[in-house]
């Protein structure tokens, strides 16, 4: 036996981590001009920016027309035609929704915005209740308000819905419905029961194999032929169901990726403790799987949001459709009107998609707190 070794007491170590100073020149050198190749790239990109950005800004803001009420105002100038947007703003936001009833849309907008903001601001309490209300009560109230026919509210037929309202309705239904459906399909595809598995695989592969446009055409013109007599589904409802099912198939494959990434030990750990299938799925498997694929889920949602513009091909006037229709209107047709409209639509889409992206990033940060060592 060797005599016990007495460890030397730890020496006092009070030095702070040295501060690294690089300065502006140092930063420039390190990040932009660190090698010949990087220097060339930096100069090229700089040149591209100088060449491209000022003309766009000139067109959009400096040479643009800001005042006026008709196309004549825009005819003489070579810049963006903002009066078009101002004049048509009501249509862009509400579509052809009866003007007297637009307050109902506003109420839906405000409740939705407040609810979402509540969920996104981390310090606010009772997120569970707010989320549950947003998923159950809110769609119900929105439906009653938007379509009317109850409590003395006059009916506004869905053909009049349009603009941002329609885009948000289609996107919200698609996003909210596709997630639970996708979860079920993903679980079904991994089920040990052959019937469930085969049905899930067939469903996913059929919907994924067909273009969205085809699906929408089928929903708008073919489906009514197959529905039994007397059963009439609103065209918008048919389109919403189509969008939800189509996106559920995509969501299912994303979620399946998350399920597969989960180590087998997690399933075994849960099984050994006596958890049944649904309990271990809900408490152990899904929370981890969904978290793993959160970036992909949001990616899907963003793509879904933009794909809502496809409903314009079956005769709906969504955000893009309403702008396009306005720009071809004889009152406004002109070289710069359509471009201005597209720029505005693009900016609006971007604001919504970028918000989703930022929210998902902050959610990822919150959820990964347990990973920190």
């Amino acid at each position: 036996m060797t005599p016990p070794v007495t460890a030397a007491p730890p020496t006092a170590f009070h030095r702070k981590r040295p501060v690294k100073k690089i300065g502006v020149l140092g930063w420039l050198h390190a990040n932009l001009f660190s090698s010949l190749f990087n220097t060339v790239l930096t100069l090229l990109v700089l040149g591209l920016l100088v060449w491209a950005v000022p003309p766009i800004l000139d067109w959009a803001f400096i040479d643009a027309v800001w005042h006026g009420t008709t196309r004549e105002a825009c005819e003489t100038v070579g810049g963006a035609c903002w009066p078009f947007i101002f004049q048509r703003f009501g249509q862009i936001v509400y579509g052809f929704y009866d003007e007297a009833a637009r307050w109902r849309v506003d109420v839906v907008y405000v409740f939705g915005a407040v609810g979402l903001a509540w969920l996104m601001i981390p310090s606010l309490p009772r997120k569970g209740w707010v989320g549950a209300a947003l998923l159950t009560l809110y769609p119900l109230v929105s439906f009653v308000l938007l379509s009317g026919g109850w409590f003395g509210l006059p009916v506004v037929s869905t053909e009049k819905w349009g603009g941002l309202l329609l885009t948000l309705v289609v996107a919200a239904v698609g996003i909210v419905a596709s997630l639970p459906l996708g979860v079920l399909l993903a679980l079904g595809r991994r089920s040990t029961l052959p019937v469930v598995r085969i049905l899930s695989v067939v469903f996913i592969e059929v919907w994924r194999g067909v273009p969205m446009i085809t699906v929408l055409f089928m929903a708008s013109s073919m489906l009514p032929l197959f529905l039994p007599d007397g059963l009439e589904l609103d065209k918008l409802v048919r389109a919403l169901i189509a969008v939800a099912l189509f996106n559920a198939a995509y969501m299912a494959e994303v979620i399946r990726g998350g399920l597969q990434a989960l180590p087998r030990g997690q399933y075994e750990g849960a099984a050994a403790l006596g958890f049944g299938y649904w309990q271990s799925t809900a408490l152990i498997v899904l929370p981890q799987a969904l978290r793993t694929v959160l970036p992909d889920i949001v990616n899907n949602m963003i793509s879904m949001f933009k794909d809502t513009s496809l409903v314009s091909i079956i005769g709906f006037f969504d955000l893009l459709g309403v702008i396009q229709a306005g720009a071809t209107d004889v009152d406004w047709t002109g070289p710069n009107t359509a471009l201005t409209g597209y720029l505005f639509a693009g900016a609006l889409y971007w604001v919504f998609c970028f918000s989703m992206s930022r929210y998902s990033a902050s959610l990822e940060r919150q959820l990964s707190q347990g990973d920190r060592r």
Binding site: G265, Q266, G269, A271, A272, L273, G274, F275, G276, G370
Partner: protein, 246 residues
């Protein structure tokens, strides 16, 4: 055989055409501590995993605490509620704190009230000497702490039997000791234990019997004294000389 809590009769299992378990017969009495040793690939892990049906056996009977394991899911659930298991890779749930890892099964499987489940969890975490880590997530703990948390999690279900599948094989040498210590404590308290392990010191200290497996068979079964001092089979002698030699 009224006090037998685990009974395996002629248990056989194949992976494809490869026989992993060949006519295994094993009886474990209430309160007994069994250590299963043997070279890797000899079927040790498969054997313990059959006891709580993480693996399905193809032939023979397995009776655990009076329940015969069949395809019937209710029987499997009954057995799993009474049998705790500790894995080589801990298999803690990384999205939950240590405390929630421990309360999850009592809350949802046993329907224990929340307060009671938490008190139970804290009791076992204290016994495992990691009560101060209760609110951390698994990734923030060392390997030894994680494994002790995993043992606490299994104990929170008040199991009658504990299965250990190489509980120290994924640990740094410094942490093996702390895990073995709590396992010895557990053995002293009278828990029925079936341990697959290479820790021969642990076997010598707590085991009532050591089973030596090779190529899917239990080829030698003896009390630790006999097993270590006068093994009968050549394969056992070779194994012991290799594992104790360094």
């Amino acid at each position: 055989m009224s006090d037998a809590i685990i009974q395996l009769d002629n248990v056989c299992k194949w992976y494809g055409d490869f026989a992993v378990l060949k006519n295994i017969n094993l009886t474990v009495k209430r309160g007994e501590k069994i250590v299963i040793a043997g070279p890797s690939g000899s079927g040790k892990s498969t054997l313990v995993r059959c006891i709580n049906r993480l693996e399905e056996h193809d032939e023979g009977d397995i009776v655990v605490n009076g329940t015969t394991l069949t395809r019937d899911v209710r029987d499997i659930d009954t057995v799993r509620r009474e049998v705790g298991m500790v894995f080589q890779q801990f298999n803690l749930f990384p999205h939950l704190s240590i405390l929630h890892n421990c309360t999850l099964a009592p809350l949802w499987v046993r329907k224990t009230p929340k307060k009671e489940a938490e008190a139970l969890a804290m009791h076992y975490l204290e016994e495992m000497r990691i009560a101060d880590q209760a609110h951390k997530h698994p990734a923030q703990l060392s390997g030894g702490q994680q494994q002790r948390a995993a043992i606490a999690r299994a104990l929170c279900m008040n199991p009658k039997i504990m299965l250990f599948d190489e509980p120290t094989s994924a640990l740094d040498p410094e942490m093996i000791g702390e895990v073995l210590e709590v396992m010895v404590d557990l053995a002293r308290k009278g828990m029925t234990m079936v341990c697959v392990t290479h820790e021969m010191g642990f076997a010598r200290e707590v085991a009532d019997r050591v089973c030596f497996m090779d190529a899917g068979e239990i080829i030698e079964e003896a009390d630790p004294e006999t097993f270590f001092t006068s093994p009968k089979r050549e394969r056992t002698k070779l194994f012991l000389s290799q594992i104790l030699g360094h």
